[in-house]
Amino acid sequence: MNTRGLRSQLKDSVPVTGLCPQAGPYGVQDSLRRGFSSVKNELLPSHPLELSEKNFQLNQDKMNFNTLRNIQGLHAPLKLQMEYRAARQIQRLPFLPSSNLALDTLRGSDDTIGFEDILNDPIQSEMMGDPHIMTEYKLGIL
């Protein structure tokens, strides 16, 4: 974990999207897809760690890219981000779980183990999204 990059992050930290209601196509709460909304649910996190955990990976990446930029120049994070984007596109169908092996290798998390590998493993999740709806959503038909 990169702890030296923290100072470089002070000015431009990742905006916390948090729990704000994500607007549907017409700018209102998308009740069909996201369920009922409640003001308290959106404003307050249910646990103090919820927000920081949600954005942990993003913040780590941002910090690492900043350090890399300071050490090696702008080209290094640019090239890496391009590779990340390419690796992220290698997925299966929308409703099938993907191992994200290429992305893990790039990030270096293929030889570390953490709570995200032990608890709530997406591969062992008991629920599956409805294949038709998910593919239509991905294609933008729905």
Binding site: Q22, L32, E50, D111, T112, F115, E116, L119, P122, Y137
Partner: protein, 286 residues
């Protein structure tokens, strides 16, 4: 349910879905005057010290759940790598899972570097993980081991701060154990003396703290060898009354031996009785 999964990317790790529900349940239960079940803690005495050739770690073996002893002989000294062991106090599940995760990470790291792992690496991994979770993972650890730079001993607190010291104690019995250490610790002790000192420190915790009890486990780590002594000493055996405490015999038995009371004088007075009347009554045996 399917409609919700369309938009949320399912990721692993901690899920906070039930937190609001739990808070509501907790409030309701408290209104009725009851209390929700407590997590199993180890309420412990753990300690470690650095001696001449290595590190000695000690721990008691009681796990409590509220006011009840949940496990009379649990093992609190966890394996991290062949040359690094870690004692854990706090919430039992947290210490168990944290030490297992760090053990796996350290193994992967050492395979990747091709060198035996160092204690400082384990310390750094533990403190970064505990800080990430801001103390919600209740694991207070004593990490000790011997690597290429010699023997090292660290204490790690649940919020992620660490101390590198020659002798450390943690847990609810830490004050009792630290008192013993502060009195008798010297640098560069021999192995037997170090083991005796750790045993006495844990015994002080066991006898003076309600959260610690049962046996004393020791783990002696030196350059090429690890001695995991479980149990090293059974301070309280269940069902056996103590015969001696600190050398004074304790009897629960009040039959005194012959000769306990000394005899000073002895006087025998025969009584002369005369026969006044003699009669025979026959028994009815029909």
């Amino acid at each position: 349910m399917a409609t919700v999964s369309v938009c949320q990317y399912h990721r692993g790790g901690f899920s906070f879905e039930n937190c609001k529900r739990n808070a509501l349940l907790e409030a309701d239960i408290n209104k009725l005057g009851l209390s929700s079940p407590a997590a199993r803690k180890t309420g412990t005495t753990i300690c470690g010290l650095v001696y001449k050739d290595g590190v000695v770690l000690g721990a008691d073996t009681r796990a409590t759940e509220g006011m009840v002893v949940a496990d009379k002989n649990c093992s609190k000294i966890h394996y991290i790598s062949p040359n690094v062991y870690c004692c854990g106090a706090g919430t039992a599940a947290d210490t168990e899972m944290t030490t297992q995760i760090i053990s796996s990470n350290l193994e992967l790291h050492s395979l990747s570097t091709g060198r035996p792992p160092r204690v400082a690496t384990a310390n750094r991994m533990l403190k970064q993980m505990l800080f990430r979770y801001q103390g919600y993972i209740g694991a207070a650890l004593v990490l000790g081991g011997v690597d290429c730079n010699g023997p090292h001993l660290y204490s790690i607190y649940p919020h992620g701060s660490t101390d590198k010291l020659p002798y450390v104690t943690m847990g609810s019995g830490s004050l009792a154990a630290m008192a013993v250490f502060e009195d008798r610790y010297r640098p560069n002790m021999e192995e037997e003396e170090a083991k005796r000192l750790v045993r006495d420190a844990i015994a002080a915790g066991i006898f003076n703290d309600l959260g610690s009890g049962s046996n004393i486990d020791l783990c002696v780590i030196t350059k090429g060898k690890v001695d995991y002594l479980r149990p090293h000493d059974m301070a309280n055996k269940k069902g056996v009354r103590e015969e001696k405490i600190y050398g004074h015999p304790v009897t629960g038995n009040y039959r005194y031996k012959h000769g306990t009371t000394g005899v000073l004088t002895k006087t025998v007075t025969p009584l002369n009785l005369e026969v006044v009347e003699e009669s025979v009554q026959t028994m009815d045996t029909s």
